[in-house]
């Protein structure tokens, strides 16, 4: 069977009885079996659970419009980044420390996605502990980009992007501490939302840097990502940072800012060009653009590489090999580097110079960004300075790898949402795109802009093969 590429196509197919939920699971698992060895996208598949769930929903007569209103993700096959706890299914965080860990409970987002009818197909490869921009830091080997297997799929949610490009799942989940949802979406021709800090519960998601971590969906259309976001958002009583926001669109006429600091010399010409074209398209649709200045955002990546390792060193402190997992000698190089960096910036004599300083510069960036959102509803920017790079290119140089996320850091430091949108392909046939950042809890405005843009360019979801 031809696997549908969107939630709507899937549910229409079920209503029209073109296929059953079990046949869908068959089709996805067949592809995973065929291609996973080559691309290293799934670490674990949950065949039995997928089939038992699909069988529950296999009566085609139940599929009515009304049914899908109550079960918005019915028939939707989902893969989770392997940093989301899944009760009874191995969860590794991409690390040998947790190579045989089976969680006794599921993350809130996992439970909500499944309560909405989704079928869990398995766990996706990622940089160990979500530390990385290429997927190459996974202790289980790098994931390859389905659009060209010599290239990285983007990290850290590497399998979550690649699974969509390889048509191994309809939607996936990711975490974004500094671009880890947006980058794989960008490098794999997918749509993703990095939600507002406090919009989606992180309960049951292995923590990386708690003041920056966010949980969000990746899919092939803005509509699909919005549907999943609406399923997972809101308070659960287990993550004290989450609030139930009204998510209102502030203005009927949306204005977008172009922050000139995000278009500096390091940017690849094809990345810049796709954004310039995107701006032209949205202008024709009546969106107003203006240049804005965010001078302190040039320090965002430095602030991030102080605050994040500090929080990592604290969060990874709990892995002692006593209650679960292996001992600390099982940490890979990147985790060790970040733990040491974090411990150093928090240690006596260096706390003020690094950590306290970074927290103050963070305030400065936030105040500039807040001020700009008095004038505009969104900011357009690259996700990364270049299209996907080759496997191995940055792996021996941690600092160069870190700078991949130079444009991603601002959204996390400010706790604002950002929508990553595919826009086209480079001359080499590699995915291109950009991000739209908004003020806190302005996800609906970003979704509107994303839909407007994709409608205007006649966007159609694509898979690599």
């Amino acid at each position: 069977m031809k696997i549908p590429l969107t939630i709507k196509e899937t549910q229409d197919g079920l209503i029209k009885k073109e296929f059953s939920a079990v046949q869908l699971v068959d089709a996805y698992l067949e592809r995973i079996k065929k291609y996973n060895e080559e691309y290293n996208i799934f670490l674990t598949t949950s065949d039995e659970i997928a089939y038992s769930k699909a069988k529950k929903f296999n009566d085609l007569d139940q599929y009515t419009e009304e049914f899908f209103k109550e079960n918005p993700l019915a028939g939707v096959v989902v893969g989770y980044k392997d940093i989301f706890l899944t009760k009874g299914i191995r969860t590794t965080a991409g690390s040998k420390v947790l190579e045989s860990y089976i969680p006794p409970y599921s993350a809130t987002s996992v439970s909500r996605i499944e309560n909405a009818g989704a079928i869990p197909i398995g766990k996706l490869n990622c940089d160990a502990w979500a530390h990385g921009s290429s997927g190459e830091n996974s202790d289980f080997g790098p994931t390859k980009n389905p659009w060209n297997k010599e290239y990285v799929p983007g990290g850290s949610s590497s399998g979550s992007g690649a699974a969509l490009a390889a048509n191994m799942s309809l939607i996936t989940t990711g975490t974004d501490t500094c671009g880890s949802i947006r980058l794989p979406a960008n490098y794999c021709f997918s749509v993703a939302i990095k939600p507002t800090y406090g919009a989606v519960s992180r309960y049951g998601v292995i923590a990386m840097a708690s003041s920056l971590d966010t949980v969000g969906p990746i899919g092939r259309t803005v509509e699909d990502v919005e549907t999943v976001f609406n399923v997972i958002k809101g308070e659960d009583g287990y993550d004290g940072t989450v609030v139930n926001s009204k998510f209102e669109i502030r203005n009927s006429k949306l204005r977008v800012g172009i922050p000139k600091e995000f278009f500096t010399e390091g940017i690849d010409p094809e990345v810049e060009k796709t954004i310039t074209l995107g701006i032209e398209v949205l202008k024709k649709e009546g969106i107003e653009f203006k240049e804005v200045a965010l001078p302190s955002t040039k320090y965002a990546i430095d602030v991030y590489y102080v605050i994040q390792p500090a929080e990592v060193s604290s969060n990874l402190g709990r892995f002692d090999g006593i209650r679960y997992g292996n001992g600390r000698d099982s940490f890979g190089d990147e985790a060790k580097r970040r733990i040491m960096l974090g411990t150093y910036v928090l240690s006596a004599g260096y706390y003020d110079a690094y950590y306290l300083k970074a927290m103050k510069v963070r305030s400065k960036i936030i105040s500039e960004v807040d001020k700009v959102f008095d004038e505009v509803d969104a900011l357009i920017a690259p996700v990364a300075p270049t299209p996907p790079f080759k496997l191995g290119d940055k792996v021996s140089d941690p600092l160069t790898m870190y700078l991949t996320d130079v444009y991603a850091a601002t959204a996390n430091l400010c706790g604002i949402p950002s929508l990553a949108l595919p826009s086209g392909f480079s001359k080499q046939g590699l995915p291109l795109g950009f991000q739209l950042m908004g003020s806190r809890f302005s996800e609906p405005a970003l979704f509107e802009l994303g839909k407007l843009y994709h409608k205007a360019i006649d966007y159609v979801p694509k898979v690599a093969f």
């Binding site: 006794p104 406090g198 003041s211 004290g240 609030v243 430095d302 602030v303 580097r337 110079a353 300083k357």
Partner: protein, 104 residues
């Protein structure tokens, strides 16, 4: 502000604080990498942050409290112990941290 150059002794000290057993090869590999990263983030020293209060989180919430109640959905003892084989009478088994005094 003192952004002293990272030494081998610093790396050893930090590894000890973080409970990481590093080999000499690892220390020699990490030292230049960590130095390079610290030099980059040291740029922050140039930013004027007078009168700025530090930001530790962006939720804007303080002291989110709830009743301390046991809920039926809570993980039971077996669930809590399910992550390890090293248990004893329903407890986690750990290495001894105290040794018998030798001067008695």
């Amino acid at each position: 502000m003192d952004m002293a150059k990272l030494s081998k002794a610093d790396v050893t000290h930090v590894a000890r604080l973080a409970k990481l057993d590093l080999t000499d090869t690892e220390i020699n590999k990490f030292l230049p990498q960590l130095s390079q990263i610290l030099e980059h983030v040291g740029e922050l020293g140039k930013v004027d942050t007078t009168d700025l209060t530090p930001t530790s989180q962006t939720a804007g919430l303080t002291n989110v409290l709830r009743e301390d109640e046991v809920k039926p959905s809570s993980i039971d003892q077996n669930g809590a112990l399910s992550g390890t084989n090293k248990t004893h009478n329903g407890y986690f088994k750990v290495d001894a941290i105290l040794t018998e005094r030798s001067d008695k």
